[in-house]
Amino acid sequence: MEHLQFEFKGSANRKGCQKTTLVGVVSSGNLEVMLENSELQGLCRINVSTSSQGFGEIWQAVLNDFAARYDLSNLQISINDGGATPAVVCLRLDQALENYLEASS
Amino acid sequence: MNIETLLSELFPLGHSVTNIDSILTGYGTTNKGEIAVLGTTDHLAVGVEAALALATSALGVIKNDPGRPILLLVDTQGQRLSLQDELLGINGYLAHLAKCLELARQREHQLICLVYAEAVSGGFLSFGMMADEIHSLPEAKVRVMNLPAMARITKLPLEQLEELSRTSPCFAPGVENFIKLGGINTIWQQPLAERLVEVIGMKLDEDQRRHNGFVRQGRKLAFTVAQRVKAG
């Protein structure tokens, strides 16, 4: 197992809902993504636990783009990964965020 | 310990337990009175017939001897692995046995289990593990699966499992591990007749295993998690 943490400074103060949002399932080639509101001094923090070792740089690149795309702050994102490809990771992140914003609006 | 020796040590005052196709049924005499005996021997692989036979006996005790304590003697290598058993719905037969034992408990029969040889997964789950309290002889073997088979199925290296089994009671076979997890109450040392008499009449209402696992630090989460869910 490898545990990674990423932090991004965001400016958009899109307040999410009170509820947590979870999408996906931890299985081979798949992952679960949980989004929670959290007072993080404007940060978006992403914690990744993955069974595939040695892909930190790819996670960094995927999450850089994700953070740039949505400009999020005060959001805790937690990921349990069963070895998903970047394509699946991006899809789940998008789905999670859509659910999150939908539920909060 | 073979079954004849076991029965004579448990019941020095005598017993009427018979062994038909490795199924044990009958009564034993203790100095707290008669106790019904149900069990298996010869490391029986429990198939549909055996499950049904045990259920027949359990229902017989419920009907004919209201409230009499029941001793469950466990020696099973698990469920029988066959297409025919699955075709007939063996899980339903085992569930039926479990339900009959639960009915006995509801009708004030004390259920005492003694693992005297082998206790493996399915056969144990629907029978001995239904007891109010579960005891074991020191030489008994309790497991879900042996480590090599486990390594094969989980695709984890055997060495890793062996290494971890030294520190975690959670998956390695063994009576001691089951005791730490609360799955077995105590190990019975000689004289067995005294051990049996000690527990007869100590009626327990609740499933104690989670609590025991918590106190013994082998299963730290089950008790608190269940409590939290229950409390809402």
Binding site: G83, T85, A87, V88 | -
Partner: protein, 549 residues
């Protein structure tokens, strides 16, 4: 001056038949005498064709040949489409054969590589199907061909059933050049449903102890399709099939193609594309095409082979498929691949690796796998002269701004995720094919589809239209632009990619108007094999291994 003899081959043939008479005087040979018969019919050094493709296999005759006495029969030169059975390998292990010209060796690829390294197999060349078939008539004509059919009558006529495949080609090359044709059949009957091979082209027939092997190679279970594959299929339908009005096409086998087929009655229908795309196909009867056929998208399908379980369905749809007077399908690999090369406007396939030039390869190290038919299907047909609007539009894109005589272009599309399972990147700086070439001493790296034949690359990130690229650098940047988070993709220049996007060379799902939220399994016309059966009205009978009922 001695008189030159002009019929030595025919004379040799007569000698062989005479020798064989000591084993069997009848055209119908008992199975247990087949090995002995082959020992009389075949001579050392012969060129022998063993029929078998990725579907049907002359498995019994292959085993018989592998059992001949290597003291008597040796140094054979095998010519065959596919090396797939253990018996094929045994021929070389036992020294019965030492040379092979072939096309594909999927399951035996690893063992092949070992035998080549050990000097037990000399590879003449690895071909495409059409090339190999072509050489049967030029310089690789078989002396003896061991073929397979469904049944024979007592005169020796053969019925191949729906899986005609390579049989007519092999028999034609052999029987008309003084060769000998031996056929295994599942059964000998009084009356055949139809005649696929006439009796006087066949010398011997045997009833094999077991029905010949038949692999359901083109069945893809919709249950395994992922949302990513569905998203890519949506992009293909909207961004390529609709834009170019693709009506004559071929799909490579695989889940990506299956996803496209299953979106026709749903997504394509919702875009109003019925009757406007995907009307004429060169394709094995893919079970996943059933919903599109039933929904009225598909007008015709011509097949190189059939597919196990599809027989009744195909028979019941003679307006769509090519069926004989008996009602069952007739397939033909040679004609299909000629059609696929010259008469279709689009090929779409998947690959394991692609480099920055767009070259793609399915080579994995330590395996010799070969080509099959993909290079002919996945190549621009330079000799094509007839026009279609699709072909002309692609040609205009490829030639815009260049001063050349106008001509069309075939659309050759590669579709794949940027990473395969276990995080293997699809896009690489250098194909493993190069290392394979170096290790085995091949003349060329085994490239499946050359980059200059490819028109579009589709990944989950979007579509790269290589037709519009004008320089090597632009092509590379376009490929990087859809290569995702692979090392190749991470090497992109964001500015260059945005520039290509502005020019329509790279198009993201949002540029195409593809809503990624629709990319769920609910969009599939069938989500399971069971639903395919339902679409077929119970006519499709899937093999046991694909059922969950």
């Amino acid at each position: 001056m001695a008189i030159k003899k002009w019929d030595t081959q025919a004379e040799n043939r007569r000698d062989r038949l005479q020798r064989a008479a000591s084993i069997c005087t009848d055209r119908i040979v008992p199975a247990e005498r087949m090995t002995a018969l082959l020992e009389e019919l075949i001579e050392p050094g012969d060129r022998v064709c063993l029929e078998g493709n990725n579907q049907k296999q002359a498995d019994f005759l292959a085993r018989c040949l592998a059992q001949v006495d290597p003291q008597r029969i040796f140094d054979l030169h095998m010519v065959q489409s596919v090396i797939a059975l253990p018996a094929h390998i045994e021929l070389f292990e036992r020294g019965i054969a030492n040379k092979v010209d072939f096309s594909f060796s999927g399951p035996m690829g690893a063992r092949m590589a070992q035998l080549v390294a050990a000097g037990k197999i000399q590879i003449g060349a690895i071909h495409t199907y059409l090339e190999l078939f072509g050489r049967y008539f030029i310089d690789l004509t078989p002396k003896v061909s061991l073929i397979v059919a469904h049944s024979a009558d007592r005169q020796g006529n053969l019925y191949t059933g729906p899986n005609t495949e390579d049989t007519p080609t092999i028999v034609e090359a052999t029987a008309f050049k003084s060769g000998i044709v031996v056929a295994q059949v599942n059964q000998i009957v009084d009356q055949l449903p139809r005649v696929d091979i006439p009796a006087d082209w066949v010398d011997y027939i045997t009833e094999a102890p077991n029905p010949h092997t038949l692999e359901p190679l083109f069945t893809r279970d919709p249950a395994q399709l992922s949302e990513i594959q569905i998203l890519m299929a949506m992009m293909v339908i909207k961004g390529i099939y609709a834009e170019y009005s693709v009506n004559r096409l071929n799909h490579g086998v695989g889940f990506n193609a299956a996803a496209i087929e299953l979106l026709l009655p749903t997504y394509a229908e919702s875009l109003g594309l019925k009757g406007k795309i995907c009307r004429h196909w060169m394709l094995n009867p893919h079970p996943t095409l059933i919903p599109a056929i039933e929904a009225g998208f598909v007008e015709s399908v011509y097949s190189p082979g059939s597919e196990l379980g599809m027989e009744d369905y195909v028979s019941a749809r003679p307006d769509v498929f090519f069926n004989g007077s008996d009602g069952s399908q007739r397939s033909n690999r040679a004609f299909s691949h000629a059609a696929g090369h010259y008469a279709t406007d689009l090929f779409i396939g998947s690959t394991l690796q692609m480099d920055l030039q767009g070259n793609s390869s399915t080579v994995t190290l330590d395996r010799i796998t070969g080509f099959g038919g993909a290079p002919n299907l996945g190549a621009d047909a330079r000799g094509r002269r007839h026009a279609s609007s699709t072909w002309l539009k692609a040609g205009r894109e490829a030639q815009s701004g260049l001063s050349a005589a106008p001509r069309g272009r075939k659309l050759v599309v590669q579709i794949m995720e940027t990473y395969r399972e276990h995080m293997q990147p699809t896009f690489v700086e250098r194909l493993d094919a190069w290392e394979m070439m170096e290790n085995t001493g091949m003349d060329l790296p085994p490239i499946m589809v050359y980059g200059d034949d490819i028109s579009h690359v589709v990944t989950e990130e979007g579509i790269a239209n290589l037709l519009l690229c004008r320089t090597e650098e632009e092509r590379s940047e376009a490929i990087r632009g859809v290569a995702g988070y692979t090392p190749v993709g991470l090497g992109r220049s964001h500015r260059a990619v945005e520039n290509l996007r502005d020019r329509g060379i790279i198009r993201r799902p949002e540029d195409l108007g593809v809503d990624h939220r629709l990319a769920t399994r609910d969009l599939l016309a069938a989500r399971s094999i069971r639903e395919l059966v339902h679409w077929s009205g119970g006519l499709y009978q899937p093999p046991k291994r694909f059922r969950n009922w």
